[in-house]
Amino acid sequence: MSSQNPLRLERITHRFGSVTALDDVSVEIADGELVTLLGPSGCGKTTLLRILAGFIRPSEGRVVLQDRDVTRVPPHKRPVNMVFQRSALFPHLDVRENVAFGLRIAGIPRREVSDRVADALRLVRLEGMESRRAHELSGGQMQRVALARALVNKPSVLLLDEPLAALDLKIRLEMEVELRRVHRETGATFVYVTHDQREALALSDRIVVLSEGRIEQIGSPDDIYHRPVSPFAARFVGDANVIPVHVRQLRGTLATIALAGHSLDVPCGPSVARGPAWLVLRPEIVSIDSRNGAGGELTGVVRDLAFRGTGYSYRIEVPDLPELVKAEIAATHGGPVAVGNEVTISWDPDACGLLTRNSESNDDYHQAVNESDERDEDAADD
């Protein structure tokens, strides 16, 4: 496990018949990292994981593990082990024999097997469960056995295929803590697949955001959350508001944008140019004010309200904006504003972000966006 050589996926492309599941995907994973492949169903993350495991041979590209090209190496010969979504514990073996499975195949002597199995079960906190069978275990326990079964072989890379997806919420949260602890204690390299962005943010050293077979962004959770580079990443991680706007003027790192008939100055990066752009607004930085004449800029009507325990989730309809604006307001800010009331929306301009926009698509959303653009343009011309 002390090898410095990373795991590399080089230009992986894979097609199922006429469908391209992965398109020119390249990722480098460092030793001891926990990297998450994150994306919605069908984005290719599970395909990528299975290519890593060896169950799929990619149409193009290479998998390089410790400087060795393992693309054509079958799964049983790779120093890689997987935790399956539904544990896949062998029903005819008890917990001890399940965990010992890989060791017995490798011909490890009996005493060493005993020791290593005991260590593995201790690691996942299941000492005493050796004689149980899979159907006598809870979902969380089954996944812990699966984890032990994989880790006991000391793989170069541990693959996890949405291991918490089939578990209840409460167990899932507990298992997250367990996974982080196991990762710390073993120092192994983990590649994790999930569609749950919250889980990804909580567990990962780095996240690879995938959509439709392509990488949208790679970065630390903080990077992706605060500095998304595409509207998809912004929406998928953190569920941000992604609003079409128009950049009027650029002065250094300050852009003047037109938004629903108003003008705003926001800081921006060097890639932003005049013309169409996206404004990324995380729901937790949006403030609302229901007092009349509060002197705010954007006004809207509350269309939906949900109590979240720690606060409220609002959806606000603002004229000339194509989607409802999402706002998360902490409960400390007084009682909720009822549905149907008018509110003023504001936010700290330094906390939002701008992304470049290409106006190609012709679907309804982009139609609405284009109409909104035209209104902005007209407004600005007045």
């Binding site: 599970t46 395909t47 539904r86």
Partner: protein, 275 residues
């Protein structure tokens, strides 16, 4: 996404097995058309004369008719009694279930020889004349467990939530059966009935012991097997195979329909080959 494996060895075995299963049967059909009437290669020419001969034979026609009559009665009886029994077995008290199930399913495990000779002796003891009726009685005993297997499997796969929903909406037990249960299972039951017909039509092992002076198609073949060596046997065999194949296909289509209907409703997958 598919998780089917590549397994060249098992694929090869499967293909060879299919060859092994079909080649002898294809050969039988082939030689039913053999012009010269010899039963070995070379194959000299096609002819329908054996078909003409056989269909012209009155013994063949009466055997065919008898088989059809017996099979039809058995099929109907099995459908009615079998459906009732399947419901009874699946919903009865747990304590009764094991003995009833044993009574219903044991005949499959017992070789036909024993069932046949036990019935022969039994009918003799009761002074019952052997006839097509005794054949029909014996066929029911043989066919019934197969029908029950299929019917029970179908009932097991019913979603109880659907019947509960119907009751909840005010339907009486009979209405629930008619409007919710029956529409779900009738394809499987139809298929099982076709199966029952086919099994009875083909049956020989038990029939041999309990048949009277009349003949069924398999008995007809049997008598020919002992005496003649010409393609007329092939002809009768082909007729028998064609009928059963047709019925089997019917049964299969119904089973598929039922499966597809179920998956459309409940979202499952035939064979669960994909996760």
């Amino acid at each position: 996404m598919s998780t089917t494996q590549r397994s060249p060895v098992t694929f090869a075995v499967t293909m060879l097995a299919l060859l092994f299963l079909y080649l002898p049967l294809v050969v039988v059909v082939l030689f039913s058309f053999h012009a010269t009437g010899a039963l070995s290669f070379p194959f000299t020419g096609f002819s329908f004369r054996w078909y003409r001969d056989t269909f012209g034979s009155p013994t063949f026609s009466s055997a065919l008719q008898n088989s059809a009559i017996v099979a039809t009665s058995v099929a109907i009886l099995t459908l009615v009694l079998g459906t009732m029994a399947a419901f009874g077995l699946s919903r009865c008290r747990p304590r009764l279930r094991a003995p009833l199930a044993a009574l219903f399913f044991l005949p499959i495990t017992l070789p036909g020889l024993f069932v046949g000779i036990a019935l022969l002796v039994y009918f003799a003891r009761l002074d019952v004349q052997l006839s097509l009726t005794t054949v029909m009685i014996a066929h029911f005993v043989f066919v019934f467990p197969y029908f029950m297997l299929v019917a029970m499997a179908a009932l097991d796969r019913l979603d109880p939530a659907l019947e509960e929903a119907a009751s909840d909406l005010g339907a009486s037990p009979w209405k629930v059966f008619r409007k919710v249960t029956l529409p779900q299972i009738w394809p499987i039951l139809a298929g099982a009935t076709a199966l029952a017909f086919a099994l009875s039509f083909d049956e020989f092992i038990i029939t041999f012991f309990v048949i009277g002076p009349d003949s069924t198609l398999p008995m007809f073949i049997f008598s020919k097997l002992r005496r003649t060596v010409d393609p007329s046997i092939n002809v009768v065999s082909t007729v028998l195979m064609a009928t059963t194949l047709f019925l089997w296909a019917v049964a299969f289509v119904f089973a598929l329909r039922a499966e597809r209907g179920r998956t459309r409703r409940a979202g499952g997958v035939l064979g669960e080959a994909t996760p």
